[in-house]
């Protein structure tokens, strides 16, 4: 569960998030909105890369804002980026191991978790392939595998479907949908792909100019007139 209370972020004179309050409880929660609505800023506040001017964020009874970014990751807040962050000269296994390095598990357990996330993401045969040789879908999957290796409580995915084909998006959809069941983590998903959001998010929040204009069951949100006007083009 993530509780956001009166969160405000300003960049100079621009209010990227404006007194945002939101309580996310479901297995997969979607966040949508037009460009510049504040979606990525929200994820950056949750992961500690942007400091809010005011407000509070409580996740599973922990004050997230009191923790440093790396401490949030070690606590169980995993995230991916809009542009997949893959090191060209490091293998898929290295990318996953870096998350395991801070779990302080015995080596046998590391191997078990590594094997499990590789199998879940379908990357087992690419385990020793370096980042430079991965296609865009494999890069996305590697990031997701790294998120899952860190025993996450919450996984924040920032436009994971960007640049993927129809088939790859379908695979991604089934993977994200299975995260809660397989790994026990709540997923917060930002994406422009309305079909993807509709297919896997039980609840969805809509942001516009840093304000929450709708939050609730996904289908109900998409029928909301304000949402249609702001995001779906009437």
């Amino acid at each position: 569960m993530i509780g956001i209370e009166a969160l405000t972020v300003s960049f100079g004179g621009v209010r990227a998030l404006d007194d945002l309050s939101l309580e996310m409880k479901d297995d997969v929660v979607g966040i949508i909105g037009p460009n510049g609505a504040g979606k990525t800023t929200l994820i950056n506040v949750l992961s500690g890369f942007v400091e809010p001017a005011s407000g509070a964020v409580i996740a599973h009874d922990h004050d997230l804002l009191a923790m440093k970014p790396h401490a949030r990751a070690r606590w169980g807040l995993a995230r991916s980026f809009q542009k997949a962050q893959i090191v060209p000269d490091r293998t898929v296994e290295d990318h996953i191991r870096v998350a395991l390095d801070f779990q302080h598990l015995p080596e046998r357990d590391n191997e078990r978790v590594l094997g499990r996330v590789l199998e879940f993401t379908g990357l087992t045969e690419h385990r020793r392939r370096i980042g430079a040789r991965l296609n865009s879908a494999e890069r996305r999957l590697t990031e997701i595998a790294r998120c899952l290796a860190s025993s996450p409580k919450i996984v924040l995915l920032d436009e994971p479907g960007g640049g993927l084909s129809q088939n790859e998006t379908s695979l991604l959809q089934s993977l994200i949908g299975a995260i809660k069941q397989e790994f026990g983590a709540m997923v917060v998903l930002i994406d422009h792909d309305v079909d993807l959001i509709r297919a896997i998010c039980s609840h969805t929040a809509v942001l516009d100019f840093g304000k929450l204009i709708a939050f609730g069951e996904t289908e109900a949100v998409f029928r909301n007139e304000k949402v249609k006007a702001a995001y779906l083009g009437g």
């Binding site: 970014p69 790396h70 990751a73 290295d94 390095d101």
Partner: protein
């Protein structure tokens, strides 16, 4: 445990050990007295270059104070030699540790700066050490904290295992091999993975749970440690140190030859050592001005930046790969 064993006896470390063993056996037998000293110096600066390369290759940060840290290591070694009865190896480790601590201080600006600004700050630090070394000189057995006397009354002790120049070259090569293996073990384990994530982006590293401050400091400490070890060995080789050897510009030169040699492995560091100390000695030997080597380094740096990002070591590795592929095709 099995993984640690696997790493320690990987192909990479075995190649280092094989090359080091061959050099220890052959070089002192085939080289004359002067070239034994030159090769000792080459090996010492290869250790220092490994530190410069580590920070650049792993974090893409430019540290232009490495030769100043070699001076710090040399100062500590001479101070301990003349002030204590510590065995050479203990003093050597303390020289590394002392320079590592100074390296840690250099990591402070690296928390907020990168690129040209960080390079300039480290160069200024090197300039500060140049002034300190010039003002206070290196200990030579005199009294007091600075330990400087007009006429050197003390003697720099060498390791019990290596009192003569040839044995000292072997000793230096052995220490260099250990240093290269230490660097490799860091690169292939948790530190190397964390550095790789930082290199990609600091946000990416933090999102993976990496404490960026700790791992940046670790890289600078390790680079400083290597410089300190190099300084300690240099003090043992030359017995007295001169402040003119540790001018700020020397660190720029060492960084440049490290890029030319290749920053991604031990071979690049060895080539950097050869360029830094071997080429000027060769010009001297041929009766030419050693500064001619600077022209060659400039051209080589251009070549490396434009066509060979992995340096001469990368080109050598590619040539071997090409030969291997050709042989496989003909079979």
């Amino acid at each position: 445990m099995a993984k640690a064993f696997q790493l320690l006896f990987s192909r990479y470390t075995l190649v280092i050990l094989a090359c080091a063993s061959a050099s220890m056996l052959a070089l002192p037998l085939v080289l004359g007295a002067i070239w034994v000293k030159v090769l000792t110096s080459v090996t010492i600066f290869a250790i220092a270059a490994a530190g410069t390369s580590l920070v650049y290759a792993q974090l893409r940060l430019v540290n232009l104070a490495q030769v100043a840290l070699v001076g710090v290591g040399g100062w500590i070694m001479l101070r301990l030699n003349h002030g204590t009865a510590f065995p050479f190896e203990v003093s050597l480790l303390l020289s590394g540790a002392g320079a590592g601590l100074v390296g840690m201080l250099l990591a402070i600006p690296a928390m907020r700066m990168r690129g040209l600004y960080l390079a300039l700050v480290t160069l200024m630090a090197a300039g500060a050490f140049q002034i300190i070394f010039t003002a206070f000189q290196f200990p030579n057995g005199g009294d007091g904290f600075w330990g400087v006397a007009l006429q050197s009354p003390g003697e720099m002790r060498r390791p019990l295992l290596a009192p003569g120049d040839e044995a000292y070259l072997r000793y230096t090569i052995a220490v260099a091999a250990i240093c290269f293996i230490i660097v490799h073990l860091h690169q292939e384990t948790r530190s190397g993975r964390a550095w790789a994530m930082i290199r990609q982006s600091e946000a990416n590293a933090m999102a993976a749970g990496v404490d960026v401050t700790v791992y940046k400091v670790r890289a600078f400490v390790l680079a400083g440690f290597l410089a300190g070890i190099a300084g300690g060995l240099l003090a043992g080789a030359l017995k007295i140190l001169d402040s003119r050897s540790f001018a700020a510009g020397e660190s720029v030169l060492l960084f440049a030859v490290s890029v030319v040699g290749g920053v991604y492995g031990w071979l690049g560091a060895v080539i950097a050592g050869l360029l830094y100390r071997g080429v000027p000695a060769l010009f001297n030997n041929l009766g030419q001005d050693a500064d001619l080597s600077l022209i060659i380094f400039g051209a080589a740096l251009l070549h490396a930046i434009i066509t060979a990002e992995r340096g001469l070591a990368g080109q050598i590795a590619d040539a071997f790969d090409g030969l291997r592929r050709k042989r496989e095709e003909t079979q």
